[in-house]
Symmetry: D2
Subunit: 473 residues, 4 copies
């Protein structure tokens, strides 16, 4: 399972909304982007209160504590996925966001999605200026730079712009000064960030589904390199840093984002469905039914079915009650619980030739298990179709595809994979096919994890080592 | 939302299985049959240990306590739905099952699914013999009768058979004496009960999905009126009480059971899909897409689509993380959370004429909300199709369809319903259509909630009053 | 450490008191009588709601749930100590009191302190009548007998009186029928029970400290054999069962009761202080200071000091924060925490000859530890004085002095004990001395644990076995 | 109730000790110095793991998480009392100690007791250098200064010494670099800090009771202005900053410290007992008994009794089970629980003239309540004697005596106080008497809270405002 590094949300209240509640609900809608921690900070007349902890939104932010927060005029929130160190809950807790700091110009609160590629250089520079690090997350680095740039800038906007110039890598950030809600998206636009309105109030958030869940309206995406500011004079946009070449993470479409979101102009669901359709043409199969691996393989399976004419069927029933058990349990029972998460609907697959569609393959263990379940339930043949190209390179921009050794497609040929996972045939979407799924996007895509070619130059060694750096805090 | 009153499970260990773990996992697979409480009892050489509490399986049975239970030779388990009294957690806790009792012949442990219709008479009779009631559930009544019959019976089997003769109404029971696993299903067969094998060990449980989840094999259903016993001499069946006329609850197929279960010979999923297909013929619609209300309306929607030729589409994305929040939250935020549970995938419905299929309508509020969401997302027309007939009568056999006033179809005409929920048209499956979906069942069906005609004679007044009786404990 | 089996409380509301709150606070004051479980039941117009669980009062009865209970006219409460089986939390939970039952005449709720000596015979008799046992505590037996006697009695009072005649052993019971608060104390008066008034409302409870804590006034003790009833016509007393020979447990004065309670006419504190004074005469010592083992040895130490003229000093500082840690912790850290519970105030004992007074010795391990601590802190000599006679016999009346093998005084001579625990000298209060401490009591004393002579005839074998019986539920 | 701001502990492992366990147990012994938060950090070969949270030691540091910590060579711990803001648990959490930071020279971990008086100036200076503050506690300021001094120092020792020169006010600090355990005590010595040995391992901690609880030996106090360092070459002391004039907080003796601790050469218990004896001479009373207010008034009451010849008696029984309930409860029940914490032992006070001794009076409400309880229990006269002078000034050095308006002695005359609290007479220890109690101390005392004269010059306005500063984070 791949994990995305975070979801962010911010709201500037122009309507007497209960923005703590709005932020809490928005984080529930962004929960798929991070289940390891959640937090929200609310600003009432310049005073910031923050609530955050490890765990799901519902665990980290309990209602009793939420009710103690003041009604405010700006709020930001964050869900987080990376668990740096499972053996030390305090490291996770320290790195929980939003980060709330106090500096020469008052308070600042930050929520970040992405991954800086020059974090090691930036830290060294800051340490030589006497900096101490407590949180150990990129948001802390960004805060420090905003604070130091603020000393030599006339406005917070100027400080943020200068900060953006010093940061490399992926960052979609939502910030809150005592009186302003600020958003910035890196010049490549690696991670999504969009603008919405709820009545007269402005929203900045990772995905449009969070806006719609609140009953708000999607306005537009933040452009790569753009800084947006909402204050008591309204909405402002600063595009001095915008570049021509942009590269949104294609994996947001393949797996990370929620299907009901629209990112940079295209529907996530539609890209997946389209992937399935192209896949049907590129890798046809003689089969009786097409099914998808819940939940992310379903849209592609439906696309494959329509294009191929092979009937779409439900093959797996998902147990809705096993969600967090993996985390609470230990040992043998944990593995067993994992297995009962899916059960095959035997009546639909018995004696049949089955095409099963998944969004991607990481290590191959899930695929092997899926195929075995179908065969145990009586499937005559199982043809695995993957709605994205072979995944064979690490990511430096905020996902946890960090260990090339664990990627089955990095080391094995198609035939070897087929054999290892027990499929009667296997077919991946072509790289061209993938590009076609996002051809209507307003932004170029980063496909580094498929091609090994990355949109921004940097020292790869350092970028990878930053993780072990972090662990040594 | 309708709620089924329970799921039961029992296993007789012939393989050095860790039956505590097997039972725990089976209960996870039966969780959809009851989320208010869970428990399991394990028998090691005649000594019974029990763990049970209110809440989900994962809440009621924590791993730390499970590990303290002995490895045993027989175990039974239970999930429960009815919450008699929300203001008194102890009533819920006292009524948690399995019920473990000690009587003249040692220990007895019972898990029950269903509802007795002569409970008031039985209680009166027992009280006149000096009985005291602590649990306030049908399982306590059944235990008392087994205990008193045991005094005048040569064997436990004889006592159970005599007990069955005294009980009226719905009961699928799994019991555990110091050395035997015993199952019985009422003569009507109102609630499901089936037999499976895991290696050489026998399983008795409500639904086949629990057997398959463990990796076991479904053997057959317990016949209405049958008593089955597993002991160290193997498997025994007693069919003296079997009657010709039987009546399995049709709502198990419509809504209660998990789609991957096979009940009395037919696949639950297939009955739902068939219902959708018949519905398409009975209530056609001019539309661009067909969608289903997650999760139970999906199979019928797929059946409707194939039969009608209107493309099937996903219209709703379900938030997987809001599950238990309704129970933990209070006030306004609770309603809000309820609403963000589903979000419309606007790209798929905008400007379209939509057929939306649900399994049934109880009060109509959910339907109204669903339709509003589709219209808000830009659907041009919304045609509601319901994959079962109008629900207009109470149930006496173990579901919580108890209050006729709350059933929208009991009071209003089709036109009135259509108007109230805001549909452009509404269509229900006909009663004949419903019967066709289950025509291949090995057992007749009870359709009392649709027709008001019940398979067994009894004082309806008393049957209803028993619930208020219970509350006065 | 010895443990008493329970504390009971009941209140009949004549003042619009919040009796749930009064009962909760009273249980906090009775907490020393039982830390394994707590519960309270409240009766509003005949309907009884109950809240109970394992753990301390503060753990078992949380405020959120208490607030959901109705304002009622009668309430009873219970704290409990015996933990039948540490490996099965459900057994503990099932046996939690008050027990609430429903029988032919409605509801009944019972809280019991003591131990029946004919429980095996009573159970057999009930089982032959078809009884089933769920709770496995004496309160369940008592409930059954009240229920069956009620069938052949004109009034509840008559049924209770008949019940009293069938019960043997120790029982101080507080009961609640739909309209009455009822108390009974066994004819020996083994366990305390007293009457108080809070404004115009009546209280029945184990110790007077509970009455005073609420701001109420102690009225008098319930007489051994007396039944008291409070209803809407006021207070009633029934003394038909009172006998001449009575025998209150002397260990209530030695250790169980709180020092600020007055039992059967004498102050617990004063009996302990008197014991210390007599001990000083019987077992003098050449020493520089007298100190007491906290908390129960303090009053006797002060008595010893005044009588002997040797200055009283504080030698031990008790860590107030280690209370419940023993229960939560496991392994080595548990033992360590136990040890840091007391620290010696070295400045007061260094180079001194110390008399240390404790209330009693069970196994001798605590004494040995205490003496070692004093010596390690520099005490020149340590003379142990025990404010009760050698404890060498089991108890059948509701304490957990059940295992003679573990009583150091049952097996060893004074010299052997002295040597084993490392004291320079040891001295016990004489049996005559003990009798003198309670000579002003209005009730005779049971001294079975010191003498092996018990006030009531019964089959000792059976009385002891009842505990193992219970375990096999 | 007065609250001290913290307790600190550090250990350098030379014996294969389980130093996580030792630190945990030591914190339990220091719990009286802070109940709002607890934490410990352990250093294994330069890598620091930390566990900390709000609440008692037993709540903040659960055994499961403790067991995950590595066996290390250095550990430090902290208990904390100040709750900056009850409405924001995250502020408390952020300010929890030990603070673990990473700076140019690796990791650093700090635990602090006291209060800096030049924190505002220091913060301003740091902010102008680009600092950001996350924790909002003095330990963060100290960390920053150590980090910046380290940049211009050859060794960590030198950096610490320079840091000490920049800090003003009260600070007893225990620090841990990757390879050293470091302690420092401000030049006035406001807060205690002492050195102990456990086998061959060194301990630094606030009070000697923590050393003894572990079975270790007290070595000596850290001198005011001294820096001590333990590393693999042994123990080192740096006294360059030591001044002649020192001023340990006298309130440590009056109330804060545990009676079994020895601070700067004198026994806390003995100073309290001496205070009682002097008080008896200064403020005699005609009375029948002397009693103390538990727990801190007891030693002084015993001193008063011996000096005056009036018998010492126990008048109050403390409920051991109400400890944390005040924090968990809300509303009316909270006040009631507070009241039942103490019950008068009526038998000892009825009809008597009572001298009741307390350690100090803050607002007078507790005293009024105590006197009322004694009178309600039948005391004929109640004479309050206070074992310290009238408390009428705020403290700037780490206690929470911050609000002069709440100090009864600041506004009222003796007669007015007497009347307000309902005493028949009141008598305070004289200031000279107080000085006599600590005349054997190796260190001078700060008596600012009694006299308003403070040992160190500073801007009082700023020192007070720093608290409101903190709240605005």
């Amino acid at each position: 399972m791949l994990n995305e590094d975070c979801g962010v949300f911010g709201i500037y209240n122009n309507d007497n909304l209960d923005i703590v509640e709005e932020t809490y609900l928005a984080l529930l809608s962004l929960q798929h982007r991070g289940q390891a921690g959640a937090g929200l900070a609310v600003n009432k007349d310049g005073e910031i209160k923050c609530l955050k902890d490890v765990g799901l939104v519902s665990e980290a932010l309990n209602q009793k504590n939420l009710e103690k927060l003041p009604e405010g005029n700006i709020a930001i929130g964050h869900v987080r996925n990376v668990r740096y160190d499972l053996t030390d809950p305090n490291i996770d807790r320290a790195a929980a966001q939003p980060l709330v700091i106090r500096y020469i110009n008052g308070s600042l609160s930050i929520a970040h999605n992405g991954s800086l590629t020059n974090v090691v250089e930036l830290k060294k520079e800051l340490e030589l200026g006497g900096a101490i690090f407590q949180a150990g997350c990129d948001a802390e680095i960004i805060s420090y730079i905003v604070a130091s740039q603020r000393l030599i800038s006339a406005t917070i906007e100027e400080a943020v712009e200068k900060t953006m110039n010093k940061l490399k890598g992926a960052f979609s950030v939502v910030m809150m000064s005592p009186s302003k809600l600020i958003g910035m998206r890196d010049t490549n636009g690696f991670r999504p960030l969009c603008i919405g309105k709820l009545k007269n109030s402005y929203i900045l958030t990772s995905e449009s589904c969070a806006i719609e869940s609140l009953g708000g309206k999607f306005v537009r995406d933040v452009k790569p390199g753009e800084i947006v500011v909402v204050d008591d004079e309204g909405f402002h946009s600063y595009m001095n840093n915008c570049k021509e070449k942009t590269s949104m993470c294609v994996f947001e479409y393949v797996y990370f984002a929620r299907p009901d979101s629209v990112l940079d102009g295209i529907s996530v669901y539609q890209t997946r469905r389209k992937a399935g359709a192209i896949l049907a043409k590129e890798c046809p199969a003689e089969a009786d039914i097409v099914c998808g691996v819940p939940d992310s393989g379903i849209p592609a399976a439906m696309g494959y079915s329509v294009e191929s004419g092979i009937p779409y069927e439900i093959a797996f029933i998902k147990n809705k009650y096993t969600g967090r058990l993996f985390i609470q349990q230990e040992g043998k029972i944990r593995d067993r619980t994992k297995k009962i998460k899916l059960n095959v609907l035997s009546a639909n697959v018995k004696g049949k030739r089955v095409v099963v569609v998944d969004d991607s393959i990481i290590r191959g263990t899930t695929s092997a298990n899926i195929i075995k379940m179908l065969k145990d339930a009586g499937a005559r043949e199982v043809h695995l179709r993957v709605a994205s190209p072979p995944l064979s390179n690490v990511c430096y921009y905020g996902t946890d595809i960090k260990d090339k050794d664990k990627l089955i497609a990095a080391a094995k040929s198609l035939k070897e994979i087929e054999k290892q996972i027990g499929a009667d045939s296997i077919g991946y979407l072509s790289f061209d096919g993938l590009k076609k799924t996002v051809e209507d996007s307003q932004v170029g895509v980063c496909t580094g994890c498929f091609t090994g070619e990355y949109p921004a130059e940097f020292s790869k060694k350092i970028a990878v080592d930053r993780y072990s750096e972090k662990l040594s805090y």
